[in-house]
Amino acid sequence: MLSIDSIEKGVVIDHIKAGKAMQIYSYLNLDVLDCSVAVIKNAKSAKLGKKDIIKIEDRIDVDLNILGYMDPNITVNVIEGGMITSKLKLTLPDRLVNVIKCKNPRCVTSIEQEIAHVFKLSDKQQKVYRCVYCEQEQK
């Protein structure tokens, strides 16, 4: 079995749906970090059968809010001194920037190429986001 060293300090993003790790890697902009990042695909999981895991070493200040939108079943463990010091509770982020694209053909984002696609949370219960430009709903 593949072995990845346990980390002294950092963040472990666990129970990622198998195959989704690279997408999360991209949304969290982990490519710009200069610390060690391990992406484990298709690890065995009692709960999911297969799962992906991401381990980020030395950094605990990564903005992980996006995970709440992508998959609320993901668990995030913060590691300090080789121990799990806290488990983060994922919530829906207030804003999504360049995560989803507005599908309204009348929206300015359909012609103005340089601007970010920004959505704000308008209904927590229904998990509804609206484009900040045209207010189109995106579930």
Partner: protein, 302 residues
């Protein structure tokens, strides 16, 4: 620096001040004839407009300022593919304030994000049209003497009618207003507006029957079924005559009903209604100039 992209960019208190100022200007316009001396308005109109563009330009000229700009995207660099972000940055080099109309929803917000001068949204597609709303509330306040505790009917194209969306958002902030929304099913009010009304605890009712609902209304806001908002002409032809206001329909209406229309009218209000004292839509067009004078003055801190 302030921008006005949607009606709520001015607080209710600021809107009241704006209406008060516009009323003062209306009573004595010559007193304000030099207020904007040396200032320039960039009038960036990417799509056709009569009242909005002319009233903005007339407002700036009446304040002693000057106007530059274009009345169609075809004659600006937009025709060469220039972005809104670039156009507004350039406009900021030549003008002190800008009014922008563009067919895409959210275009004025984009402009404001890149602008070095105050941006006023003069209509962004089917989305927002704040100065029309300020015009509407100035008119309603002048005619009814209040902005609260009214039954407000809105009729016609409630789906794409940006004036309707902006007016509902604003009047729903005033206590005790109820809304009667009369439209064909295909042009019904969007869900996000209903969501706002529910969120603010406002009573509203959707109906297909204008005649049956007109008797309850204090305000009737008519809108045009706009050809340019349809993807195919068949739908437009089928729906354009759905809701026409004539003297027969007005028989059941209150004697102090106020009939507003953002204009242009096609045939949704029969010309015979123009003579009825309840028709205030041409007075409303006049109010548009004064409210824009007050807004330009406010955003330029003059």
């Amino acid at each position: 620096m302030r921008h006005v992209i949607e009606p709520t960019d001015l607080t209710l208190e600021e809107q009241s001040e704006l209406i008060a100022e516009a009323s003062l200007i209306m009573r004595n316009p010559s007193r304000y004839a030099e207020v904007c001396r040396g200032k320039i308005l960039a009038s960036l109109f990417y799509e056709p407009s009569t009242r909005t563009r002319l009233s903005f330009e007339s407002a700036m000229i009446s304040l002693g300022g000057s106007v530059i700009g274009f009345a169609s995207g075809d004659v600006s660099s937009a025709a060469k593919g220039e972005s809104i972000a670039d156009t507004i940055r350039v406009a900021g080099c030549y003008a002190d304030i800008c009014a922008i109309r563009h067919p895409k929803e959210g275009s004025a917000l984009v402009a404001s994000q890149f602008s070095t001068i105050p941006v006023i949204n003069a209509g962004d597609g089917g989305h927002e049209h704040p100065t029309q709303t300020y015009t509407d509330i100035l008119t309603i306040n002048a005619v009814k003497g209040r902005l609260e505790n009214m039954t407000v009917g809105l009729c016609g194209d409630l789906k794409f009618g940006r004036t309707v969306h902006s007016l509902i958002k604003t009047l729903s902030l005033h206590p005790g207003n109820k809304f009667l929304l009369a439209s064909p099913e295909e042009l019904a009010i969007p869900d996000y507006i209903k969501w706002i009304l529910r969120d603010r605890g406002c009573e509203f009712e959707e109906t297909r029957d204008l005649e049956g609902a007109i008797g309850k209304m204090d305000i009737l806001y008519m809108t045009r079924v706009q050809k340019e908002r349809f993807f195919n002409e068949e739908d437009y032809v089928r729906l354009k005559d759905s809701y026409i206001l004539d003297m027969a329909k007005l028989e059941g209406a209150k004697p102090d009903l106020a009939i507003l229309h953002p204009l242009p009218r096609v045939n949704e209000i029969s010309v015979e209604v123009d003579k009825d004292p309840r028709a205030v839509y041409f007075y409303q067009a006049m109010c548009g100039k004064f409210v824009r004078m007050a807004l330009i003055k406010k955003l330029l801190d003059l």
